[in-house]
Symmetry: D2
Subunit: 421 residues, 4 copies
């Protein structure tokens, strides 16, 4: 396997821009560079290796870690950033844009050769690879911090299979991650990339959002806010009701399929849009995915129905069906905010926050890993809260503080205490 | 204490309207009237005794309970509904509009004389009264279901004081309650009542919302959606950041006080707006509360600063300060959606849902109370989920069901399994 | 006909509150009281005679006019305000809450007995009465200022009939009126009154808004912003397309009738909802009107279909149909923000602006009436602009001013001039 | 000057995609290809020569015109589309991406050599060039259709200068153009391109929108809808008040400059952000333009203040000031939705509509040009209305039709007529 061949100067420019827009990481480096709490430890980061991830790697290195990186997805790493990172002391790694699934596995195995003590993972890609392919490394692994809905679900599946020997922090489940990265980060970047890749308009468009988890919430609200009529599909009744009470049409996909002009999946499941749905769709429908894996829209079913396939434009493939309808699949069903021709990944500010809580969780996990059983653990709320305080400081946003009387009031329960003036 | 003297015919009309708009309760009565799972048990309900609460009482009675009711707040019960309820077999109670705090206590004690086996409470009013004033009834009490943020906090305070001898379900904390009742129920009704009581306009108004919990979220988003410029105050950093990322100005109250034209508190705390804030406010500022207790705005501090007080209009008192400014307090700082001249309480549909999960939680608590330790417990998610399914049925909203392949996918973690076609 | 019998003290309190929240009028009185430009002229105001209208009357009187007032709608005047106004020097009038159409005409004729030189009208009520019933007064009438969509349309109908002998200013058509009063004033107050009269929830509700003029725009956007699913009906293609591009479902009423749970008409037309629509509606549908006349929902058709009618609650009549469905008509189809039990009319701030431009237009019309042909005229933009500047001053909102270079740039057209640095 | 050298195959693919998403043009070609109303006429189109414009050219050619095209802006044409268009019979033209102002003029003059009878213009670029540089062609010019705010203003400036000898239709001022293209087209595409060019997040961002005309309205509402805190600057009082009542902070630029993190200009004026504003800005502020000319942000003032300039990333130049602050200028202040690295111009559906009304206006102008005086004319409302009907048909959106009774009601004015049942 050849080494990446990006232009490091271009990568350095991208890193500089990201660094300027990630003030939480500047604060973290300032705080932890003098103490070097990760001194001597090998920390593996598996993610989309582009500029924002690079800033996390720099922060980890500044905190003393020997950092090894690898890409979490075949199409989402940037070669110039990879080249620029490989120039930096304390950081080395293996990632390339546009690899096959087999090449991706090979890159992962190269990273695992460094025998990491800690993995900061995305979709549990490197963790699953280690457990499945390099179980001999398990004793050296102190723990995993996982930042996606999909990854936490996958680690829980490992646990169900009895394959988990280490503690994992569900960083995705912290308020500081999923309420911001998923809603605003995925929400904004999936829509901006999708609309530019297709050169279409949201206003007046019939949009179907599959899934009303945090990503779906972001997509549905932001699409409607720009003038789309949005239909939501769900399997979970509370989520369905939430969407209904927020004013969305909630329908099964079989009905939504007949209505939509633009479909976006964000479920973490597979085959959410499949043959039975393609068969009912309007001519010209556009299909895109904002979930981690490219299995939410069944490309196989679509290919099976097609009598002809052609490139409709960069990033869009047209599938002509026997009945004359054409359906358009965006970026082969890969997550559109990373795979689109215009893709820059998530916005910098939101990754500053996501990687901030990843870093804080990693420090905490290392300190407490011996006390933690193998399994998936919630990140302690205090860790999340401190990250929020740091973020607010960088934003210059001030909160109130409870007075002593207000703190006492929290413990009052007798009517006289409460109503006392 | 005299009995209430409302017109039962008017009460019956109100109950009929509420019944028509509470289809979840119709379904519950249909399901449980034949089985009568509460047969022979005394169930006490403490709440705002108006038509929607009446429908809950009817459902409890239909399920076999001996129902006793009492009001949770001095000004929020309706005498005609009280009269109409007292006509119904299996239901009796004690409530009156416009009582003093002392009279409220007396009404509570009358209800407690029935020695309830179960309390469905609001703000833990009747629970606190029983624990504090009638501890001899504790052995007969199988448990409590509490439907407000304030009440759960208060029961936790009892627990901290070692005063809790029974299990309590934090019904407020179920998704089916707080994500709907607090956000949409309080959000809509506090604003509609406030705007009609003052005859003012939200569009273009500087509104300060104190607290960005569920109630505050509802108030802030709905006020902005009608054209207000909204500033949020918070003490919790994640909530503050959430408000910031949703586009609100987040400031300490000391700064917000100088900006606001209309203030709404929804914190569950006390003295959130106090002397130091009144001193900085703009002439003509209007102050209202959407939290349970009338202590969020310090009426004492306001009275202390005033050189003259007068009725500005029905439901609004004007406080003239020495420096010539006038501040307006709405409904004496009582929760505006219940105390306003126009107040009808929460909308019917949202109470159908809140009382639906209260009822379902009550059934579950009774069935399992022996297995539950004294303390505050989360309502099992399955109870909440079943209520959501019932609500969706009444709305005619359909969700998708996971296919078998999708169910298996939840447990897949190896790359090959996930990407398998 | 007996004189009104409201309590003048209560009326004075209402006037005081309105005066405090109408700073544009305070500024107008300050400016025009010394000059008294209306000295000696009889000015008739026909409108909803409640506190905000009272403030306009006070401003007219302060500017020197002999003011006579009368109500524009049978149910929208407040007796206590009428009583308080009749105490004031320079103001007298005829209005009473809850009159019949015949009594309304009688009140109008009493007002016309004062032989006004100028009419400030609402829905052209007094103007139509004068033209139709007192044509002998036409020579003394210098002009009319009309503040509603309906009224301007009605005066244009008079013109089409050859009945117009005087100039009329279409005050409704000024930006300062229809973009604020209709969108925000009607939008907010129709919804707050409707939701409190019915005690229902907007979130999750299927709402049909008939008409996407300014009133309909306000209603549709504000209902959706609180969580309703809104369907719009229109007859004008650009308006229909605007609604579509803003994300609303646009359908003919025959289809919308099957979907809606809550219908609000704002078209200025008649029988917009009629037999063919009632026949398709869902059981329990609620029908309300936000247009001037109570003819938008065909009450006759509804009565014809009903096998029984009953009061469902204050302000809501239930019509039981032969097939078992019940339809609910709010306030007899009268404009809900004025006829509802909770009605306070439009919010004060927006009436400050509407009446501000009415007043400014009246001054201008008087000054220029001799130069104006009989017919409907646009209010000169400069009059509207000056009113806006006054309003911004009272709000403390500052705008930029064009620099000299920017003013010159407005007249540049050659490429070199435009791109010159 | 060399001919453009784009790849025609790539251009054909782009044209095919645009054609599929412009159903109004398909309908126009179907209607007018048989009649060929433009037979034998030379029609010049000056615009951003990319795929959507290409579809307009095809429709003009199908209607019989000899079409000549040229670019309206130095950086907004696409060479491959230019090449593909030049292959088509009846179409030829002169445009290239990335020309200088001098080269742009040369291309315009080449187009003018065809002596057009009609110009469909953008920003009055070709019209100004003809009037200024080729006045000898004026006698052959039957008229101009202008589609931008800037262009109409510029033609009015020509009129003020006495330079106008022909009728011009202000196509920009039709509802079908400015209420859709400006609000939704510019609104969406300026924001998507800006956010991807900078890789920044709208949520939580302090955004300043200069100008609250239609473009500014679109930008301000859509930015806020995604979580930005938006401040608006204006010079026109009604627009300022509209922004205020819609919940925006309205401030002079001198104040807004201190607050903003992201500035977007959409005023049609020049030097809206200049030295005095740069001096007050926060470190890191990002500056972008959504108006036609790159003079809204004073690049000269910025250059004058800078001690160093560097490429911060593709499409973003960093200006380092003496005091250590850095300001970022996006795309040299050119309109960001056309000049950004990711730029595709406006979305296809909105251009279908804009070019639809351009085409319909052009037909009408040709038919009536002899009856029209030299000067700027409103497009007859009927032309706009018919275009709307065509668009609604392609969308499958149905409106209601007035009944005969409703049509009569429009002409009723006597109380008895209106209230008659």
């Amino acid at each position: 396997m050849s080494t990446p061949s990006g232009d490091p100067a271009a990568g350095r420019q991208r890193l500089a821009w990201a660094r300027e827009h990630m003030p939480v990481h500047a604060a973290l480096r300032e705080r932890y560079a003098p103490r070097r709490p990760l001194e001597g430890l090998c920390v593996a980061v598996c993610s989309h290796i582009e500029a924002k991830t690079g800033v996390l790697l720099e922060t980890l290195a500044a905190a003393g870690a020997e950092v090894v990186f690898t890409g979490s997805e075949p199409g989402s790493s940037q070669d110039d950033v990879v080249a620029a990172l490989n120039e930096q002391p304390g950081i080395c790694g293996y990632a390339r844009r546009g690899v096959s699934e087999a090449e991706l596995e090979a890159l992962h195995l190269l990273a695992l050769d460094h025998a990491p003590a800690l993995i900061l993972d995305d979709a549990a890609e490197l963790t699953a690879r280690l457990v499945h392919r390099r179980p001999e490394l398990l004793p050296g692994l102190r723990g995993v911090c996982e930042q996606t809905t999909t990854g936490v679900q996958r680690i829980q599946a490992m646990l169900g299979d009895g394959a988990l020997r280490f503690p994992a922090y569900a960083v995705n489940h912290t308020p500081m991650k999923h309420e911001f990265d998923n809603i605003h980060g995925t929400g904004e970047s999936a829509l901006t990339n999708l609309m530019l890749t297709t050169n279409l308009l949201l206003a007046g468009k019939q949009v179907v959002v599959a899934g009303y988890g945090d990503c779906g919430v972001g997509l549905a609200h932001k699409a409607r806010a720009w003038g789309a009529q949005v239909t939501v599909t769900e399997v979970e009744p509370r989520r369905a009701l939430r969407a209904h009470m927020n004013g969305f049409a909630v329908r099964p996909m079989a009905e939504a399929a007949e209505i939509g002009e633009l479909f976006i999946t964000a479920t973490g499941s597979r085959d959410v849009i499949r043959r039975e749905h393609f068969e009912r769709m309007r001519d010209g429908a556009v299909l895109a995915n904002a979930g981690h894996f490219n299995v939410e829209i069944s490309a196989d079913d679509l290919a099976g129905l097609a009598v002809e396939r052609r490139q409709a434009r960069e990033g869009v493939e047209a599938f002509e069906l026997a009945d004359g309808r054409t359906l358009h699949l965006v970026c082969e069903g890969r997550l559109v905010n990373l795979a689109a021709p215009t893709a820059m990944g998530h916005p910098a500010e939101v990754m500053d926050q996501t990687f901030g809580v990843q870093f804080m969780a990693a420090l905490h996990l290392l300190e407490h890993h011996e006390a933690l059983a193998a399994g998936v653990h919630a990140v302690p709320d205090e860790v999340d809260r401190r990250t929020a305080e740091l973020k607010l400081e960088t934003l210059g946003v001030a909160t109130d503080r409870l007075t002593e009387a207000q703190q006492r009031f929290r413990h009052a329960w007798r009517a006289e205490e409460i109503l006392a003036r």
